[in-house]
């Protein structure tokens, strides 16, 4: 089936994703038929106003949607993980030779349909996520070390045991401890002197791995950080811990849901640099969810603009910023304050994002669109290519229409 096969450079493919939420007033079409691809090693920016379905799209990669009231109505999120040796996470070890690196492709899976067990294997290992507010994303009752340890214990127990010099160990209790699957009587078994010593060794190995991961995010003195609680850290520091945790297992895809919104500007720049640097080093793809166009312009290779549960424009970043072809994109860009604009003349898009309960069969942007013509209120534009890598869902300048298409003539922007 050549149709279903991925091209080599595609990591994930979202196909006609529809996520609905049941509410008392009707079905909210939060994500309503979204199609896009994420290529290997690229940064894809997902932009839009609040309530456009960006986060829902991002979260559906990890099946983190609240179900119910959410329903995945239709569609697929196909994902093809890179195969990585579980013993050394791709650094090369006795088991995988030197070929542990991300070269081979795993089998293609539909993230929305695989079993929970399989999903747990992928979460944190192949796909990771950074949240908006690092203050809320760390458990206040666990130390940073204990929290970071979880990801290693979950996905890298073989490596940990190797590191602790317990590669051939048969003790089931220790094995379960290194797998974070401690049973009730294991706690008693682990109190025996020999097991206790081995357990401490495992803990020490985990500690080394954690501090290594932390040091990569340029945290000063990572060993000291391990025994601190999240509330003792600053926002930037917490976000670094989150990033370290997210990138700990060398994932293929990192979903960053407005990771710098809660941080101040100087910290923001450093965090972005850090993500970029680690991404290039590890060839990780990033899905960067943001409402900040200037930021997206700086860091993204490709950009997808979302409006009311749909992608309205997608393409290479240069193309989109040089030639924005959807009125919504233009509106967003005009709303970004910049040096050239005289004081007092900041523009905003009229109105707000429409409620997505039973949306009408028209262009979703009609009503707010300055270029709207009559045809826009009865027809629903589909994504069409205007160049090889640039698509837009608007009738604007569409010569193939029998009725009079809107155009950018009489420019306002």
């Amino acid at each position: 089936m050549p149709n279903n096969q991925f091209e080599n450079n595609v990591l994930a493919k979202v196909k006609d994703l529809k996520v609905h939420f049941n509410s008392k007033r009707g079905v909210v079409h939060a994500v309503d038929g979204v199609d896009f691809e994420i290529l290997n090693g690229e940064t894809l920016g997902l932009v839009g106003e609040t309530g456009c379905g960006k986060s829902v799209t991002g979260r559906s990669f990890l099946r983190l949607l609240p179900i119910p009231p959410g329903i995945i109505k239709d569609g697929a999120v196909n994902f093809k993980a890179n195969l990585v040796c579980t013993r050394c996470s791709g650094k090369g070890c006795s088991e995988c030779g030197k070929s542990g690196h991300k070269t081979e492709k795993g089998e293609q899976v539909d993230l929305l349909k695989i079993s929970d067990t399989r999903m747990r294997e992928i979460r944190g290992d192949r796909i990771a996520m950074i949240f908006q507010d690092p203050g809320k994303a760390l458990n206040p009752t666990l130390t940073v070390g204990a929290q970071m340890a979880e990801v290693f214990l979950q996905h890298r127990s073989l490596e940990i045991l190797d590191m602790a010099g317990l590669g051939q160990i048969k003790n089931k209790a220790i094995l379960r401890f290194a797998n974070q699957d401690v049973k009730v009587f294991d706690k008693i078994l682990l109190l025996l002197p020999k097991a206790r010593k081995q357990k401490l060794k495992v803990q020490e190995a985990v500690k080394i791995m954690v501090s290594k991961a932390l040091s990569e995010t340029q945290v000063p003195n990572p060993l000291k950080l391990l025994d601190r609680f999240p509330h003792e850290l600053s926002g930037g520091m917490r976000q670094r811990v989150m990033i370290a945790q997210a990138l700990a297992c060398n994932p293929d895809l990192l979903i960053a849901d407005e990771p710098t919104t809660a941080l101040d500007v100087t910290v923001e720049a450093r965090i972005l640099e850090l993500i970029r640097e680690l991404q290039l080093k590890r060839r990780t793809s990033v899905l960067y969810i943001s409402h900040d166009l200037s930021l997206v312009r700086r860091i993204c290779d490709r950009v997808a603009v979302m409006y009311a549960g749909r992608i309205v424009e997608i393409g290479k970043a240069e193309e989109i910023f040089a030639n924005p072809s959807h009125p919504y994109t233009r509106g967003l860009m005009a709303a970004v304050p910049s040096n050239g604009i005289p004081r007092g003349s900041l523009s905003a898009i009229k109105g707000t994002v429409p409620e997505l309960i039973d949306p009408p069969d028209s262009c979703r942007f009609s009503g707010r669109c300055p270029y709207e013509v009559n045809g826009c209120r009865v027809n629903d534009p589909k994504l069409r290519k205007i160049t090889e890598s640039h698509s837009v869902a608007c009738f604007i300048n569409d010569a193939s229409l029998s009725w009079c298409a809107p155009s950018f003539e009489g420019e306002r922007v």
Binding site: R120, R123, G124, T141, Q154, G165, L200, E204, Q245
Partner: protein
């Protein structure tokens, strides 16, 4: 940053997870002790506990059942201090001092059994309701509502009356009434904590649901339950004494409520001691646990941790 050692030659420094726990506990203790009213509560509780523990040494235990009041028919209605009866005797010749000392044991039993069982049951049921949601939550919470719709004391009284007068039945009655409080608190906590990003973060890491519950939800949810339990340690004795007072306990048992009830007939004729001293004990017991509960609530508040 120096490179950490790559493999096998790992040296064990110390069990840092353990020392972190100890440090946390010490910090909590320090916060508790910095509050004078909490210290007062702790001192009273300490005295009561030592009284309960050393009861056989403080007074000579009544043979064969020390929880039964000894009767000395030759010394009825003696005021405090007379004939070696430190706090006087009741109408039936019971030693008030003996009743108070051994009554602290019965009170302790009552609070520990009732609070312990209801806390566990309530926490489990509340967690299930909060975690699973949907119709399970709906059914469990409607049951809770039924229990809550009847006032605590009246409900406990009704159950105890149906089961028949005995101390064990008071424990059962109180447990049946009180568990709903914990279920409600726990459910509300779980629902609130479930919303937090760190629970999602733990899911993203690939943690199992059970692990997430144990590590992320439970530790963050127990604070209000612990505080409620401490307050209830006092309240339970109060309600228990009320039930005993109206005769739902075995007669003659060394219990503060029973003692108050035995002495109340004499108050009008000036024999105040038989009711006053056990009443005072009930009051002190409830007060002490309320003081400790308030102190705990402040000390366990994570936002105040750095102060």
């Amino acid at each position: 940053m120096t490179n950490p050692p790559q493999s096998s030659n790992i040296t064990i420094t110390k069990d840092s997870a353990f020392s972190v726990k100890i440090n946390r506990f010490l910090a909590l203790l320090q916060r508790l002790l910095s509050n004078p009213t909490t210290v007062i509560g702790l001192i009273i509780i300490g005295l009561m506990l030592s009284m309960a523990i050393f009861a056989p040494w403080i007074t000579t235990a009544n043979i064969p059942d020390p929880y039964q009041m000894p009767r000395d028919w030759g010394a009825v209605r003696k005021p405090p201090g007379e004939m070696g009866y430190l706090l006087g005797t009741t109408n039936e010749g019971g030693d008030v001092f003996y009743g108070i000392v051994w009554g602290s044991r019965t009170s302790l039993q009552l609070s520990i059994y009732v609070v312990g069982s209801t806390m566990i049951i309530g926490t489990i049921i509340g967690s299930i309701a909060g975690l699973l949601g949907g119709w399970v939550d709906e059914v469990l919470m409607r049951i809770v509502d039924v229990f809550l719709s009847i006032p605590e004391l009246i409900f406990a009284l009704a159950i105890a009356a149906v089961l028949g007068p005995s101390f064990t039945n008071i424990i059962i009655a109180l447990s049946l009434v009180i568990w709903v409080k914990y279920a409600r608190i726990m459910r509300a906590q779980v629902l609130q904590i479930k919303q937090n990003d760190f629970v999602d973060a733990a899911r993203i890491v690939g943690d199992s649901k059970f692990n997430i519950y144990i590590k992320d939800i439970l530790p963050n949810a127990v604070t209000p339950v612990t505080v409620q339990a401490t307050l209830d340690m006092g309240n339970v004795v109060l309600i228990g004494a009320t039930l005993s007072f109206i005769g739902l306990s075995e007669a003659g048992i060394a219990e503060w409520g029973v003692l108050v009830s035995e002495g109340q007939a004499g108050i009008a004729s000036g024999r105040w001691w038989a009711s006053t001293f056990p009443g005072l004990m009930i009051f002190l017991w409830a007060l002490a646990f309320n003081l400790l509960g308030d102190g705990l609530r402040d000390a366990l508040d994570p936002r105040l941790e750095d102060r």
